[in-house]
């Protein structure tokens, strides 16, 4: 059985299937089935990589090491939850006449393609193919962001595609520079572009070219990952997309771009020593965290605030990797996982609130949401507690791991800075949620029909978050230790 190829063919098949059928319910089921299947395959892949190391297929075209396997599981989980949530979500939108049947169909066709692009990005061995796949994820998600066809959503989509494409053009230039270094460093005329090959010859590559390549890749993939100061598209796209798409963009798509950047980071560290790329990652990570904090505090729009919270989390992941010790890298990988379980819940809950109140402005949502949408608010509250890094949720442990790893490595200043940024973001989130959740509602009832909306998807993610916060299975720990080893430059 070929694990890796099936990860590409199953979502592609689902997209094809959705384009052929008319029934909306069948399309929703196809999406769920596809990502349920990829989750099963992902877990199988994770077990296999944890036991035997990297898996290759198609004579080395596809390759999955511990890092890729971890990303595959994250993509599958978030996409599965999204498909579970999307069916009912669009049904409500259709009833409210916000979308047309055709737009819903567009969503169900493009979402598996988006997933397929992400799978290819993490499974491709060649850096060039990885670039093409990341670009494909950007392109498949643009029309999803523009789905509602409102003025603002078109604006968000335009900024997303223009900034994303410009960024990715720079990333391509970085990719070209790495290949040029490989051409020079290798005796072959047309050397392999495979990452697994490049990493073996990395010490012989021309350091000037590699340095240039990393800078371009950092700016390029950093734009797609939403690192400050290239993040300006992020709140627009996240707030204007339909909530299921926001969940996928924030939950995994940002991390796919980070993954691509990590591949360059590993090559650069192997060629130039870790200092150069680690310092850059640290700088951009800290900047993102500090930029996110004030914007969270003053934000007037729920989904924009959540987008800035993603900026904070991406920043923390970068800091964890930039600190460069096995412990902090481990913490960063753990953080990726917990964030992927938490952020979609927040966006799903925001989607419910949007559909009930027809607005995302805090001012108009008003206080007392807990009376109006108790179940949604319960999930939102739990996820918000998790996202701000309070125990007993996993994000607390991963943040603690990064900070204590920093302290253990003697990086006192950076650890204190990280802690300060985290506390600032915590205060911002706390203030914003206390504005809408507690209190007396403004004499308004939303009816009973909407109480249980989105519970299966949110329950799935929150359940997973709770379970994995207290118990990490052996293979998952192994995978993350292996992945941390790969990033840390162990052979």
């Amino acid at each position: 059985m070929s694990l890796l190829a099936s990860l590409l063919f199953v979502p592609a098949g689902a997209a094809l299937g959705c384009s052929l059928v008319r029934s909306r319910r069948v399309m929703a089921v196809l999406g769920m089935l596809a990502f349920g299947l990829t989750l099963a395959v992902g877990v199988a892949l994770l077990l296999r990589v944890a036991a035997d190391g990297a898996v290759t297929e198609w004579s080395g075209f596809l390759r999955a090491d511990a890092l890729s396997a971890w990303m595959v599981v994250l993509i599958s989980v978030v996409s599965l939850a999204t498909s579970v949530y999307a069916g009912r979500y669009f049904q409500r939108d259709l009833v409210a006449r916000v979308v047309t049947e055709w737009q819903v169909k567009e969503f169900f066709i493009l979402t598996p393609l988006f997933g397929c692009g992400m799978f290819l990005a993490v499974l491709a061995n060649s850096l060039g193919v990885m670039w093409a796949a990341v670009e494909a994820t950007a392109l498949s998600s643009v029309l999803l962001v523009a789905l509602y066809n409102r003025r603002t959503s078109l604006e968000g989509a335009w900024k997303y595609v223009i900034l994303g494409s410009l960024g990715l053009a720079l990333a391509l230039l970085g990719t070209v520079f790495i290949y040029a270094a490989a051409c020079k460093g290798s005796s072959r005329q047309l050397p392999s572009f495979d990452w697994s090959y490049l990493v073996t010859i990395a010490p012989q590559l021309d350091p000037r070219l590699v340095r240039l390549a990393f800078v371009f890749a950092l700016v390029g993939y950093g734009t797609k990952a939403g690192l400050a100061p290239m993040h300006t598209w992020l709140p627009d796209a996240h707030s204007e997309a339909p909530s299921p798409t926001s969940a996928m963009l924030s939950g995994v798509s940002l991390k796919i771009a980070l993954y691509a950047l990590l591949r360059f980071h590993i090559l650069t560290a192997a060629c130039l020593g870790p200092a150069f790329s680690c310092h850059l990652l640290l700088g951009f990570g800290l900047l993102s965290m500090f930029l996110a904090a004030p914007f969270i505090l003053v934000q007037e729009n729920l989904k924009r605030m959540l987008a800035y919270s993603s900026l904070e989390h991406v920043g923390l992941i970068c800091v964890g990797i930039g600190l460069g010790t096995p412990l902090t890298i481990f913490g960063a990988l753990l953080h990726m996982g917990y964030h992927a379980l938490t952020k979609p819940v927040l966006f799903f809950a925001a989607g419910n609130i949007h559909q009930s109140c027809h607005t995302l402005e805090f001012r108009l949502i008003g206080p007392g949401m807990v009376r109006l949408l108790p179940v949604t608010v319960l999930c939102l509250g739990l996820a918000a507690v998790a996202a701000t890094g309070l125990p007993p949720f996993g994000l607390f442990f991963s943040e603690l791991t990064v900070i204590s790893g920093g302290v253990a490595a003697g990086q006192m200043t950076i650890s204190v800075l990280v802690l300060a940024a985290l506390i600032a973001c915590f205060c911002g989130m706390l203030r914003q949620f206390t504005r809408i959740l507690p209190g007396e509602p403004k004499a308004r009832s939303l009816g009973d029909g909407r109480r249980m909306d989105g519970v299966p998807a949110m329950g799935l993610l929150l359940g997973g978050l709770l379970v994995f916060s207290v118990w990490l299975p052996r293979p998952v720990l192994d995978i993350m230790h292996q992945a941390a080893g790969i990033i840390g430059g162990e052979p």
């Binding site: 494909a136 223009i162 627009d236």
Partner: protein, 223 residues
């Protein structure tokens, strides 16, 4: 001194074509007519194809011929045709006044060209094809960025993005012997094609919704 694997005439041809690409870019920077801008982009892509053809011929490399064919079909014929059709359908002829006026734009592009040569200088020893190709490539990327900031029509922004991409592809030809592996070239080719089509759809929808293609009207999302 660097060793030029190509013999004298191909190297000079490549330098000439690269210079012509730069000329096309500078003309694009001061061009107000949208249809002419699209032609200029097509001409620039034609020179890129020419460079690839010279490389393919002098090394007798089959897969570079494929790249030539893809560039000719995609960037010289198909994309200009697509953009052309869209512009005609929307009945827009001129770019509105750019942020920076044209003489100033020319001056800035001149400055960016100098910058491109400065950035490329340390790497001339790595170039396999003459001295100027990498410098031109970097200049194309820089001026493409400038064009993108300076112009406000959606179509011109798409063109600017495409010239940035041309610059990257020129860098790929300049720095490597045979360009990149075929599968990568194919991936890039299809991505660019799909990107322009999706941008086209968006431009169309923006036009429908805002009754304008002026990007500066897209300014509601802030903070």
């Amino acid at each position: 001194m660097h060793t030029a694997p190509t013999s004298e005439i191909p190297a000079q041809l490549i330098a000439l074509f690269a210079a012509l690409m730069l000329v096309a870019q500078l003309l694009l920077a001061v061009q107000r007519m949208l249809l002419t801008s699209i032609r200029l982009f097509a001409i620039q892509s034609l020179f890129l194809a020419g460079i690839a053809a010279v490389v393919a011929y002098s090394h007798n490399a089959f897969h570079v011929y494929v790249v030539v064919a893809l560039t000719l079909i995609g960037k010289v014929a198909f994309l200009p045709w697509l953009l052309d059709r869209q512009v005609r359908r929307m009945k827009i002829i001129q770019e509105i006044e750019p942020l920076v006026n044209f003489p100033m734009s020319m001056l800035i592009c001149g400055g960016l060209t100098l910058l491109g040569y400065l950035v490329a200088r340390p790497f001339t020893s790595l170039e396999r094809l003459g001295n100027n190709t990498l410098a031109v490539a970097i200049t194309l990327v820089l001026t493409g960025f400038f064009l993108m900031i300076n112009r406000r029509k959606a179509i011109t922004q798409v063109l600017a993005l495409l010239t940035v991409e041309n610059g990257v592809m020129l860098a790929a030809v300049a720095l490597t012997t045979y360009g990149m592996p075929l599968v990568v070239e194919l991936g890039i080719f299809f991505d660019v094609l799909v990107a322009v089509m999706i941008l086209g759809i968006l431009v169309y929808r923006i036009r429908e919704t805002f009754a304008s293609m002026d990007i500066s009207k897209l300014s509601q999302l802030k903070g």
